[in-house]
Amino acid sequence: MTVAPLTDLPLWPPTNLDRDPLVPLDAGERRRFAGPVTRVRLPTDATAWLVTRHADVKQMLRHPGFSADLTRPGFPLLRRLAPGAFGDRRGGFIRMDGAEHARLRRMLTAEFMIRNVRRIEPLIRQTVDRALDELHAAGPPADLVTHVALPVPSMVICHLLGVPYADHEFFQERSRTLIDRDAPPERVQRHVRELRDYLHRLVEAKVAAGERADDLLSRLARDRVETGELAVDELVGMAVLLLIAGHETTANMIGLSTLLLLRHPARYAALRDDAGHAEGLVDELLRYLSIVRTGLPRLATEDVEIGGRLIRAGEGAIAVLSLANRDRTAFDRPDEFDPYRAAQQHVAFGFGVHQCIGQPLARAELRIALVELARRFPRLRPAVTAGRLPTRDSSVVYGLDALPVTW
């Protein structure tokens, strides 16, 4: 077998800054990457297999022969990290496999189940209302990201976890560093430590307080730490994960979804009277925007055949959710935004045992935020017509840094 020189392989993720924010990959990039399974070069100079078809992505992410543990040698990292950058990784279950992962995740499944999320919908609605008041007071024009997209999921996750929202600047900045591929490795390391220290103090206080508070971290402190099932350090790691996951993902979905809907004014207007359709719309937004654009990296721990290609133990593979969500064998006219299509089988939340545990919450936040926005601001439109909107190109979770709107 001859091995192609590294430099001949296309670089993943691509770095085209001129792309429209609503287009995950332009036509040339599609041609380069959208093979069934292709080999790419990563920014670390390692190579990995890019898995892009809907069926292949599902098969790969569900297969127990792929590990999510990024500390394993050969794991396909998308950025250079300082040695030991993740420091104390205890509790960070999205990077664990098998029984270790299941043990921690299962302590949370009841918390995020659909019935419980329905119960907190009034809280989400209140939070959205307050944010929309702020938007109104600030403009027009005003920035939708600053006043709505970021504060809504941030306030909700703080409330659920029992983290004081007053500290939001502190953890929003750190949360952003951790998912920024361009952040210097030392900064990543420092911010992980600071976030862990902060949540450690908070969790210790909750453990000491015992009975009273009824938030997720207090409940876990009481029901799991006191019983010896969960170490304090593990609870801290879970808190870091939930806080970060609760921040950027939904925030970026609200921002991009608003931009997309404002380009489809009839659909935006219809949201006001057609809230019943909003659930389906949310799935189509998730599919079409696919904000985890660089995909989910895994390490093969055994030889596995995916899409007709043998991926050998020790090789890296990346499941490209955004391409799977635009696969024409899974969706008709996949590059069209069609708010009335049945898009539930998208993989925007990932697939397999790591599939986003917070998805019922994310869906509810997105639906309520968009419906209320359309109700309160029927004449909403972007306040800038020319020029590039500031996008998060180096973030693992793609989105807009600002969306100036007027009404």
Binding site: R106, L108, T109, A110, Q345, G352, Q359
Partner: protein, 78 residues
């Protein structure tokens, strides 16, 4: 596709993402205690069969399986 199905769930595999409950709420539920899947009806009505099959596809963990329901030996139903 038609035909009645028999449904099985594997709580050991379930990761509690709840897609099944959204897709076929008359067939699946989530346990209040642990958020994991509960089967409400192992032999759902025939008109739920397509949604059950969709739930099989949407389940990220491969925790749901369906088999065709065997035709009862005596075809007379009370």
């Amino acid at each position: 596709m038609s035909g009645a199905v028999r449904v099985r769930v594997d709580r050991e595999r379930c990761c509690g993402a709840g897609n099944c409950v959204v897709t076929a709420p008359e067939v699946f539920d989530q346990d209040d205690a642990d958020g994991l899947v509960l089967l409400r009806r192992a032999e759902p009505p025939a008109d739920a069969a397509d949604r059950v099959r969709l739930a099989v596809e949407l389940c990220p963990a491969g925790a749901i399986t369906v088999a065709p329901r065997p035709v009862p030996e005596r075809s007379s139903t009370p």
